[in-house]
């Protein structure tokens, strides 16, 4: 990491509300190009709301979201995808009755179908040979792990600068969790920045460069993965808990 690169994604004093419910409370994030940043926290702490705010399904009541230095909080989801933000949704959310190939096409929805489409397709098939084998199959018939590969491949088809992952390890067997995190690191090495919400703090802190800890909508801690791994509160609240609940 260069010392202080211009951030790719930035939250500045973001507040969000669902009706009367105040979810994100004056939240600041800053994610530099090339980083893997993890967002940790328990249930209902605002992690998913963070993802929805980045993608434009939730609008901040106050505050600014900057992407490549420009405010995006007024843009439609479609415009954000076109600018280079792609999601890997919680529980994968493939289109079950479309083929694997069509799911990948949907990932490239905002792009023109040019030569680079085939290039990106080859890249996804290279990362996931299994996805290539299954390309003509309906996505709903794949195993959970295979679906996660397609979900990540679908995000890559948008040729994103930033991938936002919501619980990439959820519902996967431990063996597959390892694989998914290997792939996340591989994608990152190829130059894509990753912002990742993850319950599995132990795994997340192994692959992430930095992390934020969110509690009831407030960022209570942030630092490098190394620092957080050593932090006594984190060990007790998340890592200890995870040792018991790893099998989930």
């Amino acid at each position: 990491m260069s010392p202080d690169p211009a951030p790719l994604l930035q939250f500045r004093g973001v507040n969000t509300h669902y009706g009367d419910l105040h979810v994100l409370k004056d939240v600041n994030y800053s994610i530099a190009p090339g980083e893997i940043v993890s967002l940790l926290g328990g249930n209902a702490c605002g992690k998913s709301t963070t993802m929805k705010t980045i993608m434009g399904l939730v609008r901040p009541t106050t505050g600014t979201v900057l992407f490549e230095g420009k405010p995006i909080e007024r843009l439609s989801t479609s415009a954000r995808v076109a600018r280079g933000i792609a999601p890997v949704l919680e529980a994968r959310r493939l289109f079950p009755r479309m083929t694997v190939f069509e799911n990948l096409e949907m990932g490239a929805y905002t792009r023109q179908r040019d030569a680079r489409f085939d290039e990106d397709l080859e890249r996804v098939y290279g990362l996931f040979p299994r996805v290539k084998e299954r390309r003509a199959q309906l996505a709903g018939t794949l195993s959970g792990g295979e679906q996660q590969m397609v979900a990540i491949g679908r995000a890559l088809m948008a040729r994103p600068r930033l991938i936002c992952m919501d619980e990439p390890s959820m519902g996967l067997s431990p063996l597959f969790v390892e694989q998914v995190f290997d792939i996340i690191q591989a994608i990152n090495r190829q130059g894509t920045t990753i912002f990742m919400v993850e319950q599995n703090a132990a795994m997340a802190l192994q692959v992430a460069h930095r992390a934020y800890v969110l509690q009831t909508g407030v960022v209570v801690l942030s630092g490098t993965a190394e620092e957080l791994r050593r932090n006594e509160d984190i060990r007790q609240a998340y890592l200890g808990e995870m040792a018991v609940g790893t099998a989930t």
Binding site: S78, R93, P96, M106, G107, Y109, T110, R113
Partner: protein, 309 residues
């Protein structure tokens, strides 16, 4: 006519009715698939389609069945009437969605559905005031060509209706399966939020769906007129109800299901009208619907709990 000839004749009639019900059922099913809404305005959009097609044919100087055209003039006239009816109805569909239903999106409960019932009444009464309640002689410039198959008669108009309905269904299937917008429609039907996250503009998808569905109703109105030589302000109810039944029978939200359901209901109507009595056709149709729904609650080709993983 032997009983085999009679059956063949009723199959010919049933396929024509079925073509009509299928096209109309597709409209119910498309809108339901995308918006989870039963669009009751569809009944009378179909009726408006028949009226618009009639006015278009009359504007070419055609009256009743007196003028017979052949060759290019025939194709041109029919093509124009189909195009005008489909565009006007498609426009009405888009208008209903844009002006009346979009403001209600996200409103829980039956408000959008009740709105479509209201629109249906408005369309009915506008046509009633403008054109009156009498049965109108629908211009039909088709030459009276017919073929004998055994004792049964196959008329040119039936062949034409089949070809047009088939072409529209193939076109729709191609659109939904192969085009970018068609794929966006399927993705939205399966998971609207995920589709939006891929960059699909859901508003455009919904609008396209209403356009297609209503344009098919317009084509169906034209076909109705050609088949019965008749247009009347109250034709929407009976045809619409059967088409809706066809959509449910096939599995609402399912495109091939609507096509199948329409043909099944058309055939039942024709064959049971011949063998049991016309008055019994509805009893048999709705009896069958109940039976199918007991055995397969999601319809012949439908799925229960469609898209939640």
């Amino acid at each position: 006519m032997t009983s085999a000839d009679l059956l063949l004749q009723q199959v010919i009639n049933g396929l024509s009715l079925g073509a009509m019900y299928s096209l109309l059922a597709l409209g119910f099913t498309l809108v339901y698939g995308i918006a989870e809404l039963i669009n009751f305005a569809h009944f009378n959009v179909f009726m408006v389609g028949a009226m618009v097609a009639m006015l278009t044919l009359q504007s070419f100087g055609l009256v009743g069945q007196e003028t017979v055209l052949t060759g290019l003039p025939l194709i041109g006239t029919l093509g124009a009437a189909f195009a005008v009816a489909m565009l006007v109805c498609g426009g009405i569909g888009v208008g209903i969605e844009r002006l009346l239903l979009r403001p209600l999106r996200g409103v829980a409960g039956p408000a959008p559905m009740i709105t479509t019932i209201g629109v249906s009444y408005v369309l009915f009464n506008v046509v009633l005031l403008a054109l009156g309640s009498d049965a109108k002689n629908f211009p039909n410039p088709l030459p009276p060509i017919a073929w004998r198959i055994g004792g049964a008669v196959l008329r040119l108009r039936e062949v034409l209706i089949w070809i047009i309905a088939l072409a529209l269904m193939v076109g729709l299937t191609y659109f939904v399966q192969r085009t970018r917008m068609g794929k966006a429609m399927r993705a939205t039907a399966q998971d609207p939020e995920a589709a939006r996250m891929m960059g699909v503009e859901v508003d455009r998808v919904v609008m396209t769906t209403f356009f297609l569905s209503s344009a098919l109703a317009g084509a169906c109105g034209m076909i109705f007129g050609l088949y019965y030589n008749l247009a009347k302000v109250d034709i929407g109810f009976a045809a619409g109800l059967r088409a809706f039944t066809a959509a449910v029978l096939g599995g609402i939200g399912n495109v091939p299901g609507a096509m199948l359901g329409g043909v099944v209901i058309g055939l039942i109507e024709a064959v049971s009208g011949q063998t049991v009595g016309t008055a019994w056709a509805d009893v048999i149709i709705f009896g069958l619907l109940v039976l199918v729904l007991i055995v397969r609650p999601a319809g012949l080709m439908g799925r229960l709990a469609p898209n939640k993983s």
